[in-house]
Point group: C2
């Protein structure tokens, strides 16, 4: 019966606001985008109506006409770990503070097909920029080949290229290695990450460089998978020969597993074996013994990625310096037994 009444209460549009405020829809649009030439009085009136109606601009309509989505995409891999999770969290917060939305895709695998699919998903969203947090060689290669029309920043990729941002892994690894050498260790093994991870490669490189600079023989690194499980099994293996006095592990989890193996063998850390890790996860300070490790600032990395991306988006390009990691010395390292 009430024919002139809007049947299903539709969300108020810019025109509804305009009608009630007694202005044109364009004036409302101007208020929304705070255009300079609007009388304060008019602006206030429109604003009041918007508040009364609890008006919310329709993003889809806006995106449609401006073709700007104000969304950035994040491509992540194995992001349940502390490091990437912290970075992603920081990315979201930083982006939101700038009025951007974040859409994350978690890769299940790193083959080109999975990547293509993930990317398609993000492109459907018309993302304006991409942060890639899947630091594997093949992932980067795939992205390079894709010739994206969207600007992107890669994290943890250890390169020095323009669109890459990372903590200086090589320096971090050298810091840890140097620390062990300075303590008097001569036989140090490196528990590396998976071969195809860029960070793993960089840390390994740092380790090997430092060793050779100090004229120490470096045995072939053991290639692991980042997990505590692997560290444990590697430890059991290595302890059968025991031709080392110190271990530099490419992350804290593997270090933890290694310590487990050492203890299980009836040996002590750091009395019999010194161990240094990488990342400084919040738990590392409470390992037994507390772990000497290399700290990197994951949230800061995320924030910078957003700054770089948004800076780039607005053609306001400034070079970013690499983040420098810190060595945190705790109880897991000591001079070797003699």
């Amino acid at each position: 019966m009430a024919e002139d009444d809007t049947r299903v209460t539709r969300a108020p549009s810019i025109r509804d606001v305009a009608r009630i405020a007694g202005v044109s829809h364009q004036t409302v649009s101007r208020v929304l985008n705070n255009h300079p030439s609007i009388r304060v009085e008019t602006k206030a009136r429109v604003q009041r109506v918007m508040d009364d109606l609890q008006y919310r601009p329709n993003r889809a309509a806006r995106v449609l006409v401006t073709s700007r989505s104000r969304t950035i995409g994040v491509v992540a891999y194995q992001a349940a770990h502390y490091g990437p999770a912290s970075s992603i969290l920081a990315i979201e917060q930083a982006a939101r503070a700038e009025g951007y939305f974040v859409n994350t895709v978690n890769l299940e695998a790193t083959d080109p097909e999975s990547i293509g699919q993930a990317l398609g998903h993000l492109l459907d969203q018309a993302v304006e920029g991409l942060v890639i947090l899947a630091p594997q060689v093949r992932v980067f290669e795939t992205f390079d080949e894709l010739n994206l029309s969207v600007p992107f920043v890669t994290l943890q990729s250890a390169g020095a290229s323009r669109n890459t941002l990372s903590v200086d892994q090589v320096t971090g690894a050298r810091l840890a290695t140097r620390h062990l050498i300075d303590l008097g260790h001569r036989h140090i093994h490196h528990l590396a990450g998976p071969q195809d991870w860029i960070e793993a490669e960089a840390r390994m490189h740092g380790f090997l460089t430092e060793m050779s600079d100090r004229d120490l023989p470096a045995t072939a690194p053991i290639l692991g998978d980042w997990s505590a499980d692997f560290g444990y099994h590697a430890g059991r293996e290595l302890l059968r020969v025991r031709d080392f006095t110190a271990i530099f592990s490419a992350n804290d989890q593997m270090a933890l597993g290694f310590i487990h193996a050492v203890r299980e063998a009836g040996l002590d850390v750091p009395r019999d074996v010194s161990i240094a890790g990488f990342d400084d996860i919040p738990e590392a300070a409470h390992f037994w013994p507390p772990l000497t490790t290399v700290r990197q600032d994951f949230p800061e990395l995320g924030r910078r990625a957003v700054a770089l991306l948004l800076g780039r988006l607005s053609d306001d390009d400034r070079p970013e310096v690499g983040l420098v990691p810190d060595l945190v010395v705790r109880g897991s390292t000591a001079p070797p037994p003699f």
Copy 2:
């Protein structure tokens, strides 16, 4: 000069495809939404043109006209931790598999204003559903008061209401407590999580219930903040009196810190003190000693949340059963010293 040429290469639209394929835009639309009545031949032709043009449907336009965003929002708090991070990851993957997008907002604080702001951000995106992963009493209260028009599922909220999904925390806590009691412990302290966290409350409740069922005196739980740091400091405090033989910690991190304190006091786990945790983070198996803990399946929780939400969205409601946690017995628990 080339006047009929599209100047700035605009992305191809449904009409471009239509023109080239020699059909109407509506037919293309039908192909897109695979409408039943289309000749296979026509469909194939259109599809080919779409491929040639690398046509991608414009989501904004689609959202605008259908007012369905196919996006679900996630509200998270302290999501860098293993548990929530794993759930969120699983949510994203499950949602993507269903063609949905996920937009996560990470709360910086849990006051109503922060929540309102976060929610506004998500509503701007026209989310069709919400998963709330911020298991604090005040957060839920705020959401209840908000009277959302969007369906939402709360995770980790331990209630039995219709839109709540969680691992049965009370049962988990009782399992761990019972295990300690069965080993012969009589004086057990509970290291609880922050009072306003629903999970913390539930675990505490489970602990107290089990203790009283077995006619054992329960001392007031120590209210912590989930961190290993707190566990460590609590341990140092408690060990000065040492009126207990076992500890049930509300999460693995605090358990780790506690072990640290025990060791630092020159005591042994489990010889002098038994310790059980909660969550079974991947590192727990390699603590020293490996931690007895309660495992919960975070990814499964995330997947179910999506299923529940999408099921609800399509009015295809089926009740979900609570997830049951498992007790994983490792080396950190043993009979008490006598």
